[in-house]
């Protein structure tokens, strides 16, 4: 089959989405199924067929979705109903919508380089030992140390500094 001329092709739109929490492993195929499930559950098969959603690329914490022009709103609402992905709690934050992928790439924030071999910073919160999983400005994500019930806690520097100021290493 020959390729259609541009005037006969479907007009597409691209959505730039950031996956929270940072550092979540993104498998494009599984993400596609999660989005497809959310779209079908919310809008039904007929609208899902009209949206024609697809995962174009995943770079760092960012993912680019594609949909048919005019259905961005429906896709965006469906994306906001995704609460977990691969049994991990996550949130898809919509950053921008555009007609080209190039313009979306400009809005992707480059990840900060992590020093290899650096010891993971530790702290105490709520009487428990925690390991710092991510730190961005005032935001600090920590994971409780242990073999089970190791939840990720979303805190700020102030939360860690005020009650246990002496236990915080300089790393954070």
């Amino acid at each position: 089959m020959t390729i259609r001329p541009p005037t006969l092709r479907d007009k597409r739109r691209y959505l730039l989405v950031r996956v929270d929490p940072p550092g979540t492993q993104i498998d494009q195929k599984e993400l596609y199924y999660a989005v497809s499930d959310a779209v079908t559950s919310l809008w039904g098969d007929a609208t899902a067929a009209a949206i024609v959603q697809a995962v174009i690329c995943a770079e760092g914490d960012y993912v680019v979705f594609r949909c048919r022009r005019g259905t961005e709103r429906e896709l965006a609402i469906a994306l906001s109903t995704i609460t977990q992905f691969r049994d991990t709690k996550c949130a898809l934050r919509i950053i921008a919508a555009s007609g080209t992928i190039d313009s979306l790439r400009d809005r992707m924030k480059k990840p900060e380089p992590v020093a290899d071999g650096a010891p993971a910073a530790e702290c105490r919160f709520g009487g428990k030992d925690c390991q710092i999983a991510h730190c961005d400005g005032q935001k600090v994500d920590v994971i409780e140390k242990g073999f089970k019930n190791t939840h990720r806690l979303f805190l700020t520097r102030e939360d860690l500094e005020k009650p246990h100021a002496t236990t915080i290493p300089d790393g954070i």
Binding site: A76, S80, T83, A91, L153
Partner: protein, 215 residues
């Protein structure tokens, strides 16, 4: 207009601290939050956090006692909806700001009489976004039905509305634009969503007399 999420559950009920909630809420476009079951009344950066009391599964006597206890502390008081009689009593009780969980109550629990009483005493009806976000299938369909029904009454009687995400984690918070999209699922247009986002400010500000008597 103060854009407010009328219900979040910070640490220890959830996995995020109040400060972190405030930081994320500022990024997502909120001006204030109501932190349920906390006694925090503070500003963190640009976001104001108000203490919230959520009274659940209590009889009318308990409700009255608990409302009296937090009187004039600036706490946002909300009560979980029950049957029609309970809801009417709660709505007419001074000091109650929000009636929550309408989607889970009986179909006749919130009727035109309660709606009129809510409008008269300026008690807001809460729209629980967590059902729309995390619910699937029949649970979400029922919630959408109930909220559409509530909106019919709201158009007629003009009682205040509020939006709550009941977020236990910052990952469960949603941006103002996303809330506007979710509101459209239950038939709300942009002005309706704006009014609902400002609902907490509407019900907590003190009433000014319509007529001022000059000496």
């Amino acid at each position: 207009m103060k854009i407010t999420d009328a219900g979040v559950c910070p640490y220890p009920n959830g996995d995020s601290s109040v400060r972190r909630f405030a930081l994320e809420a500022a990024v997502l476009g909120f001006d204030s939050l109501v932190a349920i079951d906390t006694s925090v009344n503070a500003n963190y950066g640009e976001v104001g956090v108000r203490a919230g009391l959520f009274i659940r599964n209590a009889g009318m006597k308990d409700v009255i006692t608990q409302v009296k206890r937090v009187k004039e502390t600036g706490t946002v008081v909300s009560v979980k909806a029950g049957d029609a009689g309970f809801n009417r009593a709660v709505v007419s009780l001074r000091g109650v700001h929000i009636l929550r969980g309408i989607h889970a109550a009986d179909k006749n629990a919130f009727d035109h009489v309660t709606a009129k009483m809510a409008a008269d005493s300026r008690v807001a009806i809460d729209i629980d976004l967590s059902v729309l976000i995390a619910g699937r299938g029949i649970a979400r369909q029922r919630a959408i039905q109930r909220y559409r029904d509530v909106l019919v009454l709201e158009n007629r009687f003009e009682f205040p509305l509020t939006f709550s995400t009941y977020a236990r984690s910052v990952l469960e918070l949603r941006a103002v634009r996303e809330i506007s999209g979710l509101g459209s699922l239950i038939g709300m247009n942009i002005p309706d969503v704006e009014r609902a986002l400002a609902g907490v400010a509407t019900v907590t500000e003190s009433l000014r007399p319509a007529v001022k008597v000059l000496p």
